[in-house]
Symmetry: D2
Subunit: 261 residues, 4 copies
């Protein structure tokens, strides 16, 4: 599926501010980058980090004053396989070393707190794809998607009590419950075709049968509509903009367009 | 300094339990391993992970029933350089990519919450070694070392309010404040000569002037007495024992002995 | 039902410490006090507060050094009415003024956080007795009674996530959900015949049909086995011992004996 | 000082909603009510509660649809005595029973968590007025007044970490630290002359030398400019509007005018 993605970030940096920006589409075997451009105004030096083992391609820069960052790319995405109920949960002894960290709790995903709940609610199901699908169903049925109901410090524990959140909260809750079930899980930021209103999207992946499966607890768009950007333990790792100091949002726009049906 | 370290973990695993064990001394240029042994009873297969870029060498296994793990090593440690007040804080553009994650908040180190405090209290100091030393002084002077005052879920935010904790809490608070000051900081587990009572110790490192400096907010022992084991974002990453299910402590003993003065 | 209750508190107060003690059985129309005694060693002045509108009778004193407080009473309890599914929830306009505070969140019962959950889970039921009984069923079926799983700072929000607690945690969760459903709810401490192991018990009351109904989410003993002591918003108000400084438990024993069947 | 106060609340209630409204000025010996009026549109029955022992005069009503509540009063205030450094902290044995509850933690004032901090920071000062004045100084010097920095669920613990808040947060932190020092403390809502921008204000009172002393950790206006409304454990008790369900703010305006110098 050929998609054109575009993001425009306009921020005011009151003083010289360091930044890590993660808006480039990831370079992965399933996601061909046909063309892309990055325009920063005013212009200045950036450090483009190499794609890491996730294919993630962030860049670093220092900004001061009003700054506009416009990224555009045309990509061709393979259709991802949907998580199969039969996908097998592997033993820890079988996992590749880089997968292990995704078993552990993180800033917004305190999976250690969800042990009892996860085993009470999902422990009777066979570990693996069916169990993860049951987690996704549970979240969809017990949490409302409510813009404005959470904030930057909201954790999966908060969302579990509040029963409301946005994509990042659904993702944190899904990751937390999966990790509590010993399923490696990690956060993924994405451009999403047909997401309404258009914005960056946060979804997650679980590791079963030796591959990462992309899932979305919000069910806002099919996972095949997603264009992967960054990968990490939770929102702290995949933020599109991480800065050394405060800055003010002036304008932000994300768009995704289908190039051929 | 030649040291002999020994740890003995005896746990009862009520069912077949997967485990990641991080008790081996790290393999680093400054820490020569002269000899070591690992005895697990009852015996069973383990997977010894290769040393990662931190030199960390955890192993994985599955345990059931009462299990004893005894690790011994003799090492020769170089004397570490003590953090200099003049050590320079580098710009984000200068940092090696693997250092970047240590700027971000993690499970027990919600550095995002400490921005105001850190800048109010330490913002007038020049960034770098002197500022980090001031953070260490502040923690030492404002937090009491009180065994039993915290638990497995205690975060740096809790410790900041409680004003009491143990080594892991001092470390989490130190890391959180440093990251809030844009100083990369990470947790380190260690054997510690002269630690009383003997136990695993948790300290941290800050990245300044292109190197990691080991520091200890508890001041329980000099950093030159430490033998490095694991490295990570916080206690979640460096636990000596991470398991897929609950288990019961039967006995645990750690000892460190000086072999030559 | 004639019951003899006894509590013995032995504490060491390292310095002159002020205390509020709530161990006397309440003086209420349904609970006749046949005899009672209080012995404090070493002896000293106490201030016995008058029974408040709940019948609660705490006393105040200052203690220093090892102190023993022994309270004994023989009471004759009327059999309480069990909460009827038909008990009607009254409008706020109909409530007596002293009931209003029990609609509000308190230290361990942040009912404001449970609005969404309570309405999602119980909103389809008619307000009143049946709804409260459904809350009690839900707690009983979703939370494990696990001694040692909580601590003095544990709130209903923590218990809701942990899915484990003791009587005070069950009570806090029950109160929180009821208040979130606009049902006045308050905590009650009690002696409990047949409670095993014997200890002070914490239960709660809901206000429906112009009376307070005693309920117990733990189902450890029938409510007719309870002898009421103190009443308040949550555990902060009904603690058997509130002190101005730290003290050390030396011994504590509670017993309840049936005098006639 | 003669002041005219006015508040106008315009809210939309999507369904029949019960409400407790606390906007009437309190009836106290020091605060003479010369005239007042309450106009609710559309009109409907209300239940005006009698002034309680704090002089607080809330009313109850049920609202549906867009509703306007306009309250106006002219009052004559005595000049309050300013907290004296010499005001004496009384022993618990000396306190009137209704004061005791203000020693205990509450929803937004978890004073139990501030024991160590309070004693470390203020324990060297003689208990009483001077110690409370030191607490007020500390808050003023360590917390920034930042509109928008907190939300309805923010507790004193959050504010202590964030080092930012609004009047209710300053008040909660002040109350928490005072209670941790065994000083009875309670929240007060008020109209405030010269508050800019005009709004309801939240301050607190401490009980020393047998009287309640009004203090304001924000220092936004002198305490003599305050017109007392409601009194309680914290913001949960003194909210100007407590409702049984959600409602939407349409307009809210508060004004205070000096009638003669």
């Amino acid at each position: 599926m050929k998609l054109r993605v575009r993001s425009e970030l306009v921020y005011a940096f009151p003083q010289d501010t360091q930044a890590i920006v993660a808006i480039h589409v990831a370079r992965t075997p399933d996601q061909a980058i046909l063309s892309e451009s990055l325009v920063i105004s005013p212009d200045g030096p950036i450090l483009q980090d190499m794609a890491d083992h996730h294919g993630e391609r962030r860049f670093r820069a220092a900004f001061e004053g009003e700054t506009s960052i416009v990224y555009e790319a045309t990509i061709d995405n393979a259709k991802p396989r949907l998580l199969s109920p039969n996908a097998r949960l592997e033993a820890w002894l079988e996992l590749p070393p880089p997968v292990l960290e995704y078993l552990l709790p993180s800033r917004y995903c305190p999976s250690d707190k969800f042990m009892s709940f996860a085993h009470r609610e999902f422990g009777h199901l066979a570990p693996g794809g069916a169990q993860v699908l049951a987690v996704l169903d549970w979240i969809y049925n017990h949490v409302d998607y409510v813009p404005g109901s959470s904030h930057g410090g909201t954790t999966a524990e908060n969302t579990f009590v509040d029963r409301a959140g946005i994509c990042r909260d659904f993702t944190h809750l899904g990751i937390s419950i999966c990790r509590a079930l010993n399923v490696p899980a990690r956060a993924v930021s994405a451009y999403a075709w047909q997401l309404d209103p258009p914005d960056f999207h946060a979804v997650f992946e679980v590791y079963l049968d030796s591959v990462w499966w992309l899932v979305d607890a919000t069910r806002l768009v099919p996972v095949e509509n997603l264009v992967r950007v960054a990968t990490g333990r939770d929102a702290a790792d995949i933020a599109f903009l991480t800065t050394s100091g405060s800055c003010d949002l002036i304008n932000q726009a994300v768009s995704v367009e289908l190039l051929n049906p």
